[in-house]
Every structure is written in C-alpha cells, then in structure tokens.
Symmetry: C2
Subunit: 391 residues, 2 copies
Amino acid sequence: MNNFNFYSPTFFAFGKDRENETGEYVKRFGGSKVLIVYGGGSVIRSGLLDRVRASLDREAIPCVLLGGVKPNPRSGLVYEGIELSRKENVDFVLAVGGGSVIDTSKAIAAGAVYDGDFWDFYCGKPIEKALPVGTILTIAAAGSEGSPDSVITREKGMLKRGASGDAIRPCFSILNPALTQSLSAYQSACGITDIMAHLYERYLTNTEEVEVTDRLIEALLLTMIHEGPRVIEDPDHYEARANIMWAGMMAHNNSCGVGRSQDWNSHNIEHELSALYDCAHGAGLAVTMPAVFTYVMHHNVMRFAQVAVRVWGCQMDYAHPEVTAKAGIEALRCFLHSIGMPGNFAELGAREEDIPYLVDTLCNGNGRSGSISGFVTLDRKDCTEIYRLMV
Amino acid sequence: MNNFNFYSPTFFAFGKDRENETGEYVKRFGGSKVLIVYGGGSVIRSGLLDRVRASLDREAIPCVLLGGVKPNPRSGLVYEGIELSRKENVDFVLAVGGGSVIDTSKAIAAGAVYDGDFWDFYCGKPIEKALPVGTILTIAAAGSEGSPDSVITREKGMLKRGASGDAIRPCFSILNPALTQSLSAYQSACGITDIMAHLYERYLTNTEEVEVTDRLIEALLLTMIHEGPRVIEDPDHYEARANIMWAGMMAHNNSCGVGRSQDWNSHNIEHELSALYDCAHGAGLAVTMPAVFTYVMHHNVMRFAQVAVRVWGCQMDYAHPEVTAKAGIEALRCFLHSIGMPGNFAELGAREEDIPYLVDTLCNGNGRSGSISGFVTLDRKDCTEIYRLMV
C-alpha cells in the first residue's frame, strides 16, 4: 500500500425530508447570502426549490438563482455564475441537482474569488480558495457531493476537463433518496453505471497488497448489482435508492481508493464521447468500460479474475484464469445491457469515422503528448483499437 | 435505511515516516503549545517520542509530557492531565499511543475547558467543546483515531463508561503501520479482535434494507480474516499491518454503520470483565462475542446465516438456516482461537463466582435499570446466562 492522505470533512445529512434543514446548514457553514445553482425545471416542478428557499427564509438567508445547467456542463454558465456571484456579493454557493449542477457550482465557487480565468484550474492550476459549497443531491451518480472534483466542458473546442481541490469539496451535502425517485429508468441506469465506473477505475491498480480497498470496492459493486435492477424495475423503491445513494458517495470520496494507483482511462476515453456527442456520461461509460477492460485485461489477468469471482460470482478456472477474467467482463456487459444501457457506438449515437478525431483530442489535446496513463499507458494506436472495439 | 448524519472530518496522514510531519499538522490545526500524552516506555525506547518532539521543535511548538496511561485507562490520570493542561496553558492535546492513550487525551481535552468534573461527560452530559486533539496511532484496534468516542474507567467502583462528541474527534491522525510492527502477537490479536467486534456490533441490526453497509462491514471482516493471521505469523509484515490499520479506522468511523440500529451489547458485557479483571479489551471480546451471538442468534437466524456464508464461506443450509448461522459463530470462535485469543473465563482470568457481581454492575450500574438494550434487549437473567456460556 502506498502512503496517502485522506480528508473527507463533508457533513452528510442523509434521509427523507432533509432538504428542509438547508438553511440551518448554510448558516452553520458560514453562508449569509446564497447563489442557488440548478438545472432544468424539474426542481421547480417537484417543489424542491420552493422547499429549499423556504428553509433559507426561515434562517433569513437571502438567495439569488442561477438555473440552466445542462448535462456535460459548459463553461459559459460558469462565467455567468461568477459574474452574478460578484455582482450580488454572495458568500455561499448551493447546488441543487446532480453532478453537473454540483460541478458547475464548484467552478463558480473557485472562480468567484480568483482574479484570472477560472479555466486555469481546469488546465492544472491548483485551487487554493473558493466560496463554500453546499449540495442537495438529486441523482446518485457522479459522487461530486463528497469529492473535491469538478468536470467542465469548454465550448471552444469542446474540451471536457477536470479540476480538483479541497477548497471546492462541499462543506455539507444533503442526500435524500426520495429526491431520486423521479428519475427515469434511463437516468437511473446512467447513474448506476457511473458509480460502477468510479469503482472499477479504482480497482484497476498496479499497487500490490491492497486487500482492504479491494474488498471495499467489491462491497460497493455488489451493492450496485443488487440494488440497481430494483430501481430500474421500481423507480419509487426508496430503500434501493437509499443504498445506491450512499454507495455512490462512498464510491467516490476515495475512502476505498486510498493508498493505490488508480486507472481513470475509461473516464478519459469516455469524456471525448460525451464532449463530442453530448451523450450521457454514464451511457458513454457503459460502452467504454467493457472495451477498455477487454483491451487491457492481459496486463493483469488475475485482477480481472478476482473481480469476476468475488463480484460477479464466476467460477474460477484455475487452469485458465483468462477465461474467468473474460467471463467477468462479459458479466459486466450483460448487467449494463440488462439495465438498459447502450452497448456500442451505434446505440450511443457515435460514429466510427470520428475515431481519428476522438483519438487526436484524447491523446494530444490539452497538454497530452500522444498517450494517456493509468492502469496501462495507452498510446494513439491503443486508443484507436479501443474505440474500434466499441463500434 | 434510517435517516442519519455522517461527519468524519479527521485528516488522516497514512504511511511510513508520517510522524515526522507532526509539527506541521499541529500548526495547521491551530496548536501552539502541546500536551503529549503517552503510555509506558515503549514510545521512548522506540525513539518515536523523540521523532515527534523533533518535528514539533522544527515548528517551534513547545510541549509538556504526560506519560503513564495504562490499558483500560483510569480517571486518575485524566484529572492529572486536566490540571497540567491548565497550569501549562496548552491549547492542543497530542495522543501518542493506542486507544487508551487517545481516549485519555480526549477526556483531558474535554475536561480542560469544562468547569465541572469531566466524569459528567461519561454520565451522559453532551461534550460541547474541547481542546483540539491529534493522534499518532501505535496499535490498530480501538478505532479511536477516527471516532468521536472515548472510554474511561473510574477507579471508584471500577466503572468503565463511554462518552462521545464531535468536539473530541481528532482533527488529525497519523497512521504509520510500521509503528505497529513492534506489537507482540498477543497485542496484535487483541487489536484484530476489537476491530472485528466493532464490525459485528454494527452488523447486528434490526434495521432492514441495509445492503450497502452490510456489504462494507463484510468487506472489512474479510480483510481482517485475510490479514490477521499474516501479522500473527510475521509481526513485521508491513503490508498486512497497513491493511489492518485502515480497516480498523474504517470499522469505527461509522461510514459502514450509518442508517442502521447497532448492537454494542458485546462491548457492554465485556466492559465489566476488563473493568473487574483488567484484562485486555480484545481478549475479553474474544470470550464474549461467541457467547452473546450464540445466545441471541435466534432473534434473526438469517442475519447470522448471511455473515456465515458471505464472510466465513460456510455453505448455506437452505432447509436449516440455523445450522449455517451456528457454523458462522463456530468459524469466528475458531478464528479467534487460531490467533491466540482466550476462549473462556478460565483462559481470561475471570471467575464464575463473580457472575452475580458482573450482572449487577452491568444491568444496574450507572443509571441502568435491570437490562441493556441493543440487537436484543438483555435482562439480568439473559446476562447471567451469557456469562455462564463463557465459563
């Protein structure tokens, strides 16, 4: 196991009706005027925004609204939010929504107290300070409610890039599983896939002797396999939603990823797809993961055999571990199909003829020089092969 | 799943040589003069105390020393520490040791800024403020490095009681697995048993639909079963020590216990043993757990069958689940025996004739009125039967 730091100071208020306590938490964490960031009209239609504002009202905390965050959130709205925050002199950013809303809020929070262009942070500049951020989560997926990460797409060149820093870690996150009951089966499946990807990206490590984090990751994957189909079958299943919601946070606050190298190449390869086609990140990952895993499997067959046996219940073929390893990848593919996720480029709306462009942006965009590193370092040829496996 | 709050803001610095960064963390968390609390001479002999003091010196942070904490730590030294803290005007308490040292430090930290008797907190008074506490952990066991809990024994009447509060949660904890390599096999086994007990106490729940936390607890139990025997066989096994150390923290910071009722009756029943006989807490738990589980098994046979199958690898007897449940308890008993833990009163140094006294103190001491509650509410007769099962 490698040396590491772990710091996850977010206060989580989990359960039914907890959004009614928003005002109390904003106050506790020092907010006196709030920018509320949200997406489309669903938080208005459901009455959630009203409940949140009523809670702020009870603490006499004024707020300013910024709606319109879209999936694969864009830099345009971030600039708008930064300007609004400064103009209105807010001292707290409250995200009401999913990963895109939270990531936009984090970007605004960092940008509002920075003199330069916020995009600098997405090109590697460390985030040293930010307005405090709170979240009210409406979809279990990105794990942004408990992470120091944010992913934003810059319109110019459609570059999808990430930034990270403890300053943008939410000070509180309200997780009410009932708020996720209104999601469609497709949205739910995208979230499930994203959570499973966060787990697989940590599982694929080159660090030895990491039994504790292996076991924790497997535990969360097993949870997703058990609970996922229940919410697809019955979107109103509170208990299944609750289990997925906590698993989604634990999958990405890094308690199960510490002390080990991680992969993140499935995310890198997928980001080009959702940047170009504006497909759902989870749907992109469903197509990406089996292709990546098939391509890199031989780098460490026993690792793939281990997850196949421990998570997917495959029988170990001791004479031919690669058979077991492959069976585990197939089990993942079948599971993703069973919850309604796409399995190839066509189902995703991607085009084979774009592969050279995807590879260019992936391997040579934003400061990369011909390859991406992770569990296996993948060069342009590798990435081309992987995209072809998805066709 | 029940509604819950989760808040675990401790900064963890994990890995080799991290104690050399102590000064930096004390400074980061606001300390300018430190009370260092430790146990016997081992931290002096090993050079650990010198390294810690050198690190404080580099940041020009003065310190005062308080040694002599014993296992099952006593209130006497807490009073001494409170007086010393006030006299020396320290603003930070640094624990260098295991759970007893950390729990003593927490009690001192709370007592130093409280006008009344610190024991009030161990009789149920909420802890509202305390000096900040940091820890340098030397044994993986109690989980106190990441918890808001402290257990102290009052000499008068030998009452062993707990207190809890976010104010005494460590602001940082340094976890260097190499520091645990000097522990004897017996001390290591006691720690392993304590960690497993923290997991079982959370596993035994009356809350339904808690798959995610069930799976996380099972993951940590599986880790202990894998890594435990490796450190008993080879005390210098850094990697096994590292896996156990992180599992020990995760087992008790409650990330795997949220949203569910918990038991804690094995701990309650054991506390009377270590209070009366001054035996190691882990050794007491090794004798207590199988007896308690055997006694309460029929309250929820399927829960015991589940842990038997998922953790201990027992075959499920679908026609007779109680056979599987019992096999899991036997597997636990055998495991604890295999790592050198006692299995009955005689091996622990306890006496059958003391049972009436143990039951009195347990069920009617410190404000209890004839029973203890948990997974199953146990009255005096139940507790008598359970102690008898240990003879």
